[in-house]
């Protein structure tokens, strides 16, 4: 019999029951269980409780499920309707839906608004930004004349459907060079900067030079890693319905550092990433 200290942990037992252990560890657990009545009894309790919970989960919820035929027919019809539309990227569909003339008008309007916002920000930035610890951090916030932010029209369901890797995706090398040149640092070392989206793709931002700027990794406080955290957090808050998409876009485009402080309720970057769990917490930050 193995000593008390060598008994299997609850986590090992659960992972073994769920088939989540590595082959080697799984074999070790199997051998241990063969010689330890105590752990076998605990394993039986784990498996029994899992089975009972899974049964209860299904019994209670299955009784609420509506018949499948109606939703199936509805989905089939909706798919047929979607499939009948011309195939194009989502942002291109916007142009097709609205017609070229209206689309051009929207684009012009958006450009005017962005320009006006950029000018306003530029005029007032002297006051607001001197209060932030960015004066010595180079381009911790973008030049709003060069990077006012640019978005596409996107459904909230599409925003929330984005996989994580797309939310934080990288910019192609050719575009990176273009942005470096725009900011007058064509010879910058790529590893020192993240060519970052001002408004992240996960918030409807587009890969457009007006939405990209070279954000230093090396800033001691407000750097690209910190902004990545804000982007992920805002994406999850938007999908949890805690923040409007337009508000998130506006806040991050106006001043992402101020947005970080607002949404994380802090004056400096958080050291840990535990806040990601708040996306499924009932209590807002």
């Amino acid at each position: 019999m193995l000593s008390e200290e060598l008994h299997l942990s609850d986590q090992d037992l659960l992972m073994a029951a769920d088939g989540e252990l590595s082959t080697r560890r799984s074999e070790q657990v199997r051998v241990h269980l063969a010689g330890c009545w105590d752990c076998r009894a605990r394993m039986a309790a784990v498996e029994g409780t899992i089975a009972d919970f899974a049964r209860a989960h299904r019994q209670v919820l299955d009784s609420q499920l509506p018949p499948v035929a109606g939703p199936r027919a509805l989905l089939r019809a909706q798919l047929a309707e979607l499939a009948a539309q011309p195939k194009a990227a989502t942002w291109r569909r916007f142009f097709q839906f609205t017609g070229a003339a209206r689309a051009v008008a929207y684009v012009c309007l958006a450009a005017c608004v962005a320009l006006a916002a950029g000018l306003l920000l530029f005029r007032h930035s002297g006051v607001s930004q001197t209060n932030l610890p960015v004066a010595f951090e180079g381009n911790a916030v973008p030049d709003h004349n060069l990077t006012p932010g640019a978005t596409r029209r996107i459904a909230i369901s599409d925003v929330c459907a984005m996989p994580h890797e797309e939310v934080i995706r990288d910019v192609p090398t050719s575009v990176r060079q273009e942005v470096f040149q725009e900011y007058g640092i064509a010879n910058a070392r790529a590893k020192d900067y993240e060519i970052d989206f001002l408004i992240a793709p996960g918030l409807g931002g587009v890969e457009d030079i007006h939405n990209l700027w070279p954000e230093p990794y090396t800033s001691p406080m407000w750097n690209a890693h910190v902004k990545d955290d804000l982007e992920e957090h805002l994406h999850q808050m938007v999908c949890a319905g805690k923040v409007d998409l337009s508000t998130a876009q506006n806040d991050i485009a106006t001043n992402w550092i101020a947005a970080y402080k607002k949404y994380f309720h802090t004056d400096k970057p958080l050291a840990e990433r535990s806040y990601l769990l708040f996306a499924i917490s009932p209590h807002p930050l």
């Binding site: 989540e20 299955d62 009784s63 499948v68 989905l75 499939a83 459907a161 499924i280």
Partner: protein, 193 residues
Amino acid sequence: MEIPSTDSAAELALAGTTTGASSARPSAIEREVMDLFEQYRNPILRYVLAIGLNVCDAEEVTQEAFLALFRHLESGKSRKNLRGWMFRVAHNLALKQRHANQRSRDATTIEETIAERQADPSPDPEEQLAATQRRQRLLAVVSALPDSDQCCLRLRAEGLRYREIAAVLGISLGSVSISLTRSLARLIRADGR
């Protein structure tokens, strides 16, 4: 949009005829989405119901998740782990909907009420009573868990692997394992095992 109003119309369409919402032959992606619908509609619906949506909202969120899947596949994006992808979309949409329904009924009350009135298949009244009480006890423990732990447990009950659960909830693999272990310990304690 024309929607078949009867189950028989839907079943005819399912049988592979070209009748239904569109006279065009369904594309390969449409067929693939419908296949996945057959496979995952109930698990997704159960999950979004379990995290507190009413039946109408849950049905709507589930439909929206499959429409998002169609758009995802149509745009040629990754087909890797579509089950996890769909649960992630449904999870996000459900949280958004739940937030919008702040005044809706409390999920705990719903489950307990349903568990109380649900008939047990066991013919023995004593066994039936014991099974019902046990189910109520387990569900009451689950309802008292933090949201993140409930989500982990419900997703596992729907057959998702730890890696998939981590991706759906945006947490680490270790967090999933710790969360499930913690929840299970509470269930075992409550069950007096």
